[in-house]
């Protein structure tokens, strides 16, 4: 064949396949590259297949997972969130970033609290010295679910790990307060107040102590008000009346020695100041 003809055919075929590539790229396909990772039953098998390079494989799957889960064209992609991150964990249990990021994806993209917790629990199981995992779990429980019982449990786990920051204890104590156990909350906050040298922390603890005392006092006063109402069918004029009618031993005062504000029409009791503005 002549050289010119050959060259011409070469250029034509090149142009054709490049054009076809552009066309096929435009056709939407549901297949995401590398998605066959989903079908691996367990990370254990993959660990065998990596022949000693499981750490690298974990990195690569993690990078792939980040891309995969941020790809909006696959709406049902979160089915495999827990599975993929368990594979990464199996390959490199001490790789900490994936646990956090996996939980993050679960919470904010998949809106799946249970999966997030599963991932964080797995992280803690494999790395018992990492207080960040139970802390995050507690954080999500508190902020998103407002489940203080769950939050308290996780804060406690985190607190007990050596090296955990003091703020966790404060979150723990706050959770106890939110659950209504004012006595334990008071004890904890007192401990925090006494054990800290930091002025800022002391201030925070003192505010919490104020709030807790207020809650306890208000609870007590409200109880007394109820009894008064049952007896006299009306609310007292002032709180001192409760003492006179012997429903209270004395009128409690707030932590700063101030009186509580009593509304005789509604029977509501409030603190004179907002705890945080003391």
């Amino acid at each position: 064949m002549q050289k010119k003809v050959l060259a011409l055919l070469l250029i034509i075929s090149c142009g054709m396949f490049m054009g076809l590539k552009v066309i096929t790229d435009k056709i939407p396909r549901k297949i995401i590259p590398g998605a066959s990772i989903i079908y691996i039953p367990s990370g254990k098998y993959l660990k065998f297949a990596s022949f000693g390079h499981s750490s690298l494989l974990a990195d690569l799957i993690y990078i792939w997972a980040i891309q995969y889960f941020s790809n909006y064209s696959v709406p049902e992609r979160f089915q495999y969130l827990s599975h993929v991150f368990s594979i990464i964990s199996e390959l490199d249990p001490e790789y900490l970033d994936p646990y956090q990021v996996g939980a993050l994806i679960a919470i904010y993209d998949a809106r799946d609290f249970d999966t997030a917790i599963d991932i964080l629990e797995l992280g803690l199981k494999k790395n018992p010295e990492q207080w960040i995992f139970p802390w995050q779990a507690g954080h999500y429980a508190q902020i998103l679910l407002k489940d203080f019982e769950l939050a308290k449990k996780y804060y406690q786990t985190a607190m007990e790990i050596e090296g955990s920051p003091p703020i966790i204890k404060r979150l723990y104590s706050n959770a106890i307060y939110e659950l209504g156990d004012y006595h334990t909350a008071w004890k904890n906050w007192l401990e925090i107040y006494n054990n800290s040298d930091d002025e800022r922390v002391k201030k925070i603890a003192s505010n919490h102590l104020y709030r807790t005392k207020a809650a306890m006092d208000i609870q007590k006063i409200t109880g007394a008000l109820k009894e008064y109402q049952n007896k006299f069918n009306r609310l007292p004029e002032k709180l001192a009346d409760l003492v006179a009618s012997r429903f209270l031993d004395s009128v409690p005062q707030d932590l700063d020695g101030q009186d509580y504000v009593y509304d005789s029409d509604t029977g509501e009791i409030e603190t004179a100041v907002i705890p945080w503005k003391r």
Binding site: F51, S55, L56, Y62, I63, I66, E94, D97
Partner: protein, 254 residues
């Protein structure tokens, strides 16, 4: 010394092998690739660079060891250069040792070059180089020495293609033997269990030289691990070399 002469000659021959430079190129490419991948990860960006680097060094090093080692003795027999060499007052054992030494010197230099490129990439990424990384690389080299001796052994009696397959199998088995340990734990006691345990101890355990995870996560390593792994590598390599000498000893060069 005679062994040194053969080693030097082997080194001169091996260093001209173009396959080395091809693999070196791929190693460099994979380092650069890892640098790019680090842009896609969330969190610790240095981890993938170190992981990819160590894995590449290990894989490409093993490929170099196998591709060169399997041709080493075979080529001499095939091309009949061995005729005049062995008719000189040099023993067959000295010949094998010389070949082995020449090859590991070549591998050492290749590893050094790859490590230099690797370190440059890490430092550019403003990572730090811990002493554990050096130790890990030392053990990569030890693993390469062992694989080389295996490739040399097969080269004494088999064609390059078969030798490569056998050597590669050795490498793969060496990284899977930990699975056998798990299996043994689940077995019920008896003669099968004992036999499997013996097989397990005999088979190579290349995971003893794998410190990648400890380097990357900066985990503590017991000093005994280093010591015993090192001696394990040395003695196993010695064993394979003795085997090679045994095979080569009474070989007829038709």
């Amino acid at each position: 010394m005679k062994i040194r002469a053969v080693a030097l000659n082997t080194f001169k021959e091996a260093i001209r092998d173009r396959i080395l430079y091809l693999l070196l190129f791929f190693a460099a490419v994979s380092f650069i690739l890892s640098r790019l991948l680090s842009l896609l990860t969330v969190g610790d960006k240095t981890k993938i660079i170190i992981d990819a680097g160590l894995s590449s060094l290990s894989i490409f090093g093993v490929l170099m060891a196998i591709l060169m080692g399997t041709g080493l003795v075979y080529k001499e027999i095939d091309k009949k250069t061995v005729y005049t060499l062995l008719s000189k007052p040099i023993s067959r054992n000295q010949f094998i040792l010389g070949k082995f030494l020449g090859l590991i010197i070549t591998l050492f230099i290749m590893l050094l070059v790859m490590t230099a490129i690797f370190f440059i990439i890490i430092l550019l990424h403003s990572g730090t180089i811990s002493w554990k990384l050096f130790v890990s690389l030392g053990f990569v080299f030890l693993e390469l020495c062992l694989i080389t001796s295996v490739a040399l052994l097969f080269s004494c009696f088999s064609t390059p293609i078969l030798s490569s397959i056998f050597s590669l199998s050795f490498y793969l088995i060496g990284h899977l033997s930990w699975g056998l340990e798990t299996l043994i734990k689940k077995m019920s006691p008896g003669i099968t269990k004992i036999l499997t345990q013996v097989a397990y101890t005999l088979l190579p355990d290349l995971e003893n030289f794998n410190f990648k995870t400890e380097v990357v996560h900066n985990l503590p390593i017991q000093p005994e691990m280093f010591l015993f792994s090192f001696f394990y590598g040395i003695t196993y390599t010695f064993f394979i070399l003795m085997l090679a000498m045994l095979v080569f000893r009474k070989r007829d060069f038709i």
